[in-house]
């Protein structure tokens, strides 16, 4: 049984992972992952390179199918990948307007507000490729939350950004948590999310080696 589609009826938890495994050929990227992410919690997915964090996030987002097990997701998903998911040859506001159209959101004001919320100037006459890394990360986050998703999946949101930008991103995540969003953060920097995470999972070689609920 392998499903990774949004299921509006599964309401108690935003995400239910049931014995999820993923193989690339014979290589086991994930093995028997089971967990639940409750509504409004921040879950930190931790682990070294190749431990399966991003693969798990892609499976939750519905971008990859589990080889075995099932995934249930309640509500809309916002996904911020390690890459920016932005068109380099479009400005920030043009990127957001395009994304908004995909979700059937027509109002430009909505995109303007989303940019302002992440501290970017909507009128900046600059293409996304000319943004600094920190600005791209914030624009990428604005793109991911534009349609007001219930579940937000963030893959390395604090990597390759300076301390000030990381702090700004963290503040934004806190605000989203306060609005009741379920947030799953993949990160190499556990110290950044320690005060924020209600739930942390440490992966190694595709398995859960440590799972803690409650703040550190």
């Amino acid at each position: 049984m392998t499903t990774a589609t949004p299921n509006p009826t599964a309401v108690a938890s935003t995400v239910i992972l049931n014995h999820v495994s993923k193989f690339f050929g014979r290589f086991p990227a994930l093995l028997g992952i089971s967990s639940t992410f409750a509504q409004g919690e921040v879950c930190a997915l931790l682990g070294g390179n190749g431990s399966g964090k991003s693969t798990l996030l892609r499976i939750i987002a519905g971008l990859a199918r589990p080889s075995d097990g099932s995934v249930q997701v309640a509500g809309r998903i916002g996904y911020m990948a390690h890459s920016s998911m932005l068109y380099d040859e479009m400005s920030g506001i043009e990127n957001l307007e395009y994304t908004a159209a995909l979700y059937g959101i027509a109002a430009r004001e909505h995109c303007v507000k989303a940019m302002q919320d992440v501290g970017l100037d909507p009128e900046l006459p600059r293409l996304a490729r000319d943004y600094s890394q920190g600005m791209r990360q914030r624009l990428s986050l604005a793109r991911a939350i534009l349609h007001d998703p219930e579940l937000l999946l963030l893959d390395e949101p604090f990597s390759n950004v300076d301390t000030a930008s990381a702090a700004q991103m963290l503040t934004l995540v806190e605000q989203l948590k306060a609005r009741g969003k379920t947030i799953v953060v993949v990160t190499h920097q556990p110290e950044l999310v320690r005060t924020l995470a209600d739930h942390s999972i440490v992966l190694a070689n595709g398995r859960i080696v440590e799972e803690k609920r409650g703040r550190a």
Partner: protein, 224 residues
């Protein structure tokens, strides 16, 4: 949002990106021009011979020129994982495909319109058949190239050797369409035969492959 509205959004996005980079139009135009010039130096036909071979040369030029452009058709969507953002959004795959195919059609048609006058000059051409039918053949033929090209380019986009895979998949399946384009164009240039059967074949080919591409694209989009 309806599929057509979303297709227009995707088309507008592709046109805007192309306007700013001009990657596809430059590659397509330069390649088509080069092939036409090389062929014009390779042959020295009289007016009658020109009419007989021009259809073949024109379409062969554009089949290969379109391959250059179509190979890049999905590159922008893969850069920065933008295609994943589309997949997560749950927006209609058909809208993405239609937008992309119409965009590619416009790029190829624009270059055809620009290169055709040069072709007429180099080969001293004058159509003896109906110009309207010739225009119809150009539109149907270009759509036949583009619809399969867009689909197979998507299929090959995530393979390591996509530049090699696309011609290997596209050329055999385009053979009936290319045959119909060349025969219909030659018939209209020489005015010696009725192009009706070839135009109907081309129209049928377009309908079948447009339908098949639309039906199968969702599977291609969500393949890992």
């Amino acid at each position: 949002m309806s599929i057509l509205t979303l297709a227009l959004v995707n088309l507008r996005k592709d046109l805007r990106l192309e306007w700013r980079s001009r990657d596809t139009l430059n590659a397509l135009g330069f390649f088509a021009l080069l092939v036409v010039v090389i062929f014009s130096f390779s042959f020295d036909p009289n007016a009658e011979e020109s009419r007989r071979i021009a259809g073949g040369i024109f379409w062969v030029s554009f089949v290969f020129a379109a391959l250059v452009a179509l190979n890049q058709a999905w590159a922008r969507e893969l850069r920065n994982q933008v295609l994943d953002a589309y997949r997560v959004s749950g927006a209609s795959p058909a809208a993405l495909f239609i937008g992309k195919a119409v965009g590619n059609f416009l790029f190829v048609a624009i270059i055809e319109a620009l290169v055709s006058p040069l072709f007429v000059i180099f080969y001293n051409l004058r159509a003896l058949g109906s110009s309207w039918l010739l225009a119809t053949v150009f539109l149907l033929g270009t759509w036949a190239l583009v619809i399969n090209g867009t689909f197979f380019a998507a299929l090959c986009a995530r393979t390591r050797s996509r530049e090699m895979m696309l011609p290997l998949l596209l050329l055999p399946i385009s053979l009936p369409a290319v045959l119909a384009m060349v025969e219909a164009t030659t018939a209209l240039l020489t005015g010696e035969a009725d192009p009706g059967m070839w135009i109907k074949l081309l129209a049928g080919y377009d309908i079948v492959f447009t339908t098949a591409s639309l039906m199968l694209f969702e599977t291609v989009l969500h393949s890992e």
